[in-house]
Symmetry: C2
Subunit: 618 residues, 2 copies
């Protein structure tokens, strides 16, 4: 499909928007009128600039409050239209978006609307312009796409068709199935936006919270599948109004937008199914290489210029230093299936230790990288010595390096082979840690949607519910992404509103390790003279009020300093280490299929962490 | 009245919240349970800390999902309550807030609710605790304060009363008049919050957008007047959930909160009226000195370390340098009633010229300062030479200095007397500028509510509608404040969402000067070789589409480079100078009572300004 985007979706002056849209590989653009009006470039210059960038001007928009009005406003609106047609001729644009009338002066009379739209289409035809009529979800009398289609059919003019917009349709919970009844040649345009489900008026929601498909809660792919079944072969065009994207860097947003469309085409193909009657629609779609879903964590790498304190912590937790990299200042620490790399050669950052990289187990590392590359993720250059195993890596949106590994499989060189193995002391008491449970990354507050899409689209992870966590210095949003079987989980945390001098983004990251006996692990830590993050006594008073676990169990939790949670599947115990630089470690033990992350206890952790010096993002 | 605030209204750990609340002069505090649970201080330590700060613990809150449930959940809830009573005894708190049940398990049965609340009150009495029952606006069966009162009356227990909350009442558009039917001794608590009218679900609205009274759209004072008529003499207590306040500095928020309550008591006194039967209610209120509303602008002061470019601009606009300060490096420039001070002695800032101070005409400058001081505004030290006129000044929230002046009145020394007057050249052509029309100040994005309240409460200005202005790099919010007669107007602009590396707050400020012949003024500027901010040709094409002003008038506007707007009262012409540092000048001409500020054209200005290097806030 041709891919297009409305200029209103991006920040900056029109010239910069066009550059970013062209650089991201779009085929066309919708020119948002306000962007043109404020631009120092003439319509002819915009036309030439778009052509230079390989961009067709697919739509000029919006034209408002036209149809179903008395004669005097109609005359004024037609005069206004003539001016727009003149601009469009200079611009080389041939399709004009006409939104359903929102004015209180509009008359509830479909025949009148059809008659006047027919008149507009007739005038438009004289300028070589076609009219795409769109039902706004908050239109005065026309707020439904099928209603708009009935009016278009009644008007019956070759230069008049409908514009379908996924936000206007899905925000009203309208069933998109009936779209299939509209002839393809009468679908003049298809605008796409997603949105998180928010409990608010649809106009306010639309103006501030739209996002790119795959970033919200709508089934945009399902809608596109219905549209493609009609035989529609026009562009898939993104149109997003979002307070945060309006402020973001245009090049970055445009790349995010393109990633969304690539993923959307793939999702649409899944919705179409593999039957012969869907073949024409499927053929219109361009598909990236299939996702290669990780099967678990291979390692986490901590950038720690002075490795000693982190090494001490790992030792106290029962880890053993099992290897040293043959050519790099990197130590391998292991316990059970949990592997931690300490990179002591990384550049000193003002913040101290940080989680710099994550190793993901992949059934096919090279295919994982191909997938990431096709979805516009930066592939990292391989810096390795001859003889080292290949390590394929891409950068996540927050800069974390993701390595695709195949540990200890005969069909692929294992990264562990690059380490000189230390002799293990057989008398050494084995720790209780079994594997990495999850990794939590804090994102800059304005990159949440981009990061969400990355983990869904690039890695094929499943998003979980978005949670609010009250931090002493603001609400945080937290959302987990996991494989279907839960073996690989990532939690993303962001501040709800923007940073400022008093409250910049806080940049904690953490690795959560699973223990098969958390009481033994916290005992081991204490015996080694290392204190976990202290939990206030008030927490245990509150826990007793909320849950009746029996006096002895309450006493044990309090004495050990463990946190408790439960869900309908089971129970959860956990504790945290003190933060070093940006990083801390969480130890968790799951009982009976508990699926969460102890979010109810996050405010206790955050309050305790804020009593210590804070690391900052960036 | 006693003044109180809920700890959830402020950022930070509990100890810091208490310190800020004490420092702002509150009498009491509501302890929000989550703040206590996460705190490392024991309840006894919190009690002692509050006592040291002179703060009573007026309420412990919230206790949720208690009433109208089957026996098993009731038993669990009573167990939970006993734990809370124990904590309250340690804390020395005697009132517990019980919110109406929101659980789907709650039964729609007032008699059952009353019976169970009576049981709770009976248990509470054994611990010396009283229960304040509050109807949440989203309660499952009880969402109205009068409904809560009917249940409390039915339960008929001395330890059970209602808690009234202005948000829960006013968000539902409930008439607060009927509050007067509740006996004062049964109103156990009064929580106050304001909110902007936002088109969304009430729970989402309440959780994220509450603000302090005077910052939103609710008639909180009207509600308080009804409560006081009952004879209520408990605390006025603020309870605000606000994403931005959660991130702000607690000391600053607490001061803002106290300013809100001082202003609220004053507004409540106005609502009570001056009749004998209202006297007891009025007597409970503490009133600050009456506001002294400014009557116009005395001057604006531009901090301009190198004055030459700004002097050149003023000359080009028809200003004359009429004086030099006797003891400071400050020049006085005048035209009509417009006066501009150029302060060449101010410290060099990285941003170049800035609007540093505004002189306001006051009928009584000393009283203006007393008013500002009573509303917790920092009074600035007077730095003046012996013989200089007194200049009373306070700092606005963004740091702008506000001087209260009495220019050329025999009853008061005039600040203009401190200037050595230059001889005027009688042959000099007089310019067309008549006076300062308005001043526009950009606030840091997270200080908008505080600034709004400042201009309303301290200066007694009237707030106008809040507008959205699309800047190329994000939506801006703009709100004007003016005297009733419109002679003194200030516009505040802020970014809608927070700053980040790519899009920090932009810090433009401007002075708008009124011209009686704007065509002559722009001609004068051009003749002097100074270009105004260029307006794109596309703007004039769009203007012709939107308005039919006749070909000649359109041609003139385009040739002159003037912007146009109209409202139901009249027309508006304006243009802008190029920005110097953080400052630019707007020239406006109002026709026939036009009341706006040309907001429709602001995006054109912003786009043009963004094509030049940007100044930044702070």
């Amino acid at each position: 499909m041709r891919r297009s985007i409305a200029t209103v979706s991006l920040s900056g002056p029109l010239a910069d928007k066009l550059t970013a849209i062209g650089a991201a590989g779009f085929d066309g653009v919708e020119i948002f009128e306000n962007d043109l009006v404020a631009a120092p470039m003439s319509p002819e210059e915009v036309r030439a600039r778009a052509a230079d960038l390989g961009l067709a001007i697919d739509l000029y928009q919006p034209f408002r409050d036209f149809e179903a009005v008395p004669p005097a406003p109609l005359a004024r609106a037609l005069r206004r239209a003539e001016h727009r047609f003149a601009v469009m001729e200079r611009l080389g644009a041939t399709r004009l978006l006409v939104c359903s009338n929102v004015s209180p002066a509009a008359i509830d009379d479909d025949a009148l609307a059809a008659e006047q739209l027919r008149l507009l289409a007739e005038r438009a035809a004289q300028h070589g312009v076609e009219i795409a009529y769109e039902a706004l979800a908050w239109g005065r009398h026309v707020d439904d796409h099928l209603h708009a289609w009935r009016i278009v059919r009644m008007a019956d003019h070759p230069n008049l068709g409908v514009c379908l917009d996924s936000f206007h349709i899905l925000s009203r919970d309208a069933d998109p199935y009936a779209i299939e009844a509209i002839p393809a040649e009468k679908i003049f345009f298809l605008q796409l936006a997603d949105a998180p489900r928010l409990p608010m008026d649809v106009l306010h929601w639309s103006r501030h919270y739209r996002c790119f498909p795959g970033q919200g809660d709508f089934d945009v792919a399902g809608l596109v599948a219905h549209v493609l079944r009609t035989g529609y072969d026009g562009p898939l065009s993104l149109e997003v109004f979002n307070d945060i994207f309006r402020q973001a860097a245009a090049m970055r947003t445009a790349r995010d937008a393109m990633r969304s469309l690539i993923h959307l085409e793939e999702q649409t193909a899944e919705r179409l199914g593999d039957v012969p009657e869907e073949a024409p629609a499927r053929a219109a779609l361009t598909l990236p290489p299939a996702p290669v879903v990780p099967t678990g964590f291979a390692f986490t790498e901590l950038a720690a210029p002075g490795a000693r304190p982190l090494g001490g912590l790992l030792t106290a937790l029962g880890f053993t230093r099992t290897g040293t990299h043959a050519s790099k200042p990197v130590e391998l620490w292991e316990q059970g299936e949990a592997r931690v790399l300490l990179n002591t050669g990384s550049a000193e950052s003002g913040d101290g230790p940080a989680l710099g990289a994550i190793g993901l187990e992949s059934p096919d590392p090279a295919a994982s990288v191909k997938r990431a590359e096709a979805l516009l993720s930066p592939v990292l250059p391989r810096v390795r010595a001859p003889g080292d195993a290949p390590l394929d890596a891409v950068a996540a949106p927050d800069g974390t390096e993701l390595f695709f590994c195949r540990t200890a499989h005969p069909d692929h060189p294992s990264w562990t082979g690059d380490f000189d193995r230390n002799r293990r002391d057989p008398a050494e008491p084995p720790g209780e840690i079994t594997h990495i449970d999850h990794v939590a990354l804090t994102q800059p507050w304005h990159h949440f949607d981009e990061a969400s899409l990355f983990y869904r689209a690039v890695l094929g992870l499943r998003p979980h519910e978005s949670l609010e966590l009250p931090d002493p210095y603001g609400l945080l949003r937290s959302r987990a992404f996991s494989t279907e079987d839960g073996r690989m989980r990532v939690a993303l945390n962001v501040a709800y509103v923007g940073a400022h001098d008093h409250a910049p983004d806080v940049a904690w990251q953490h690795v959560a390790l699973a223990s098969r006996d958390i009481a033994a692990t916290i005992g081991r830590l204490r015996t080694a003279g290392t204190d976990p993050l202290p939990i206030p006594d008030n927490y245990y008073d509150d826990l007793e009020a909320r849950h009746d676990l029996g006096a002895e169990r309450h006493r044990t939790l309090r004495e050990l300093g463990l946190l408790y949670d439960r869900d309908e599947h089971g129970e959860f115990l956990h504790f945290y280490t003190l933060t070093m630089g940006r990083v801390f470690v969480e130890i968790v033990q799951r009982f009976g299929g508990y699926r969460g992350y102890g979010a109810v206890n996050a405010p206790i952790r955050l309050a305790a962490q804020h009593s210590r010096p804070l690391p900052r993002l960036g």
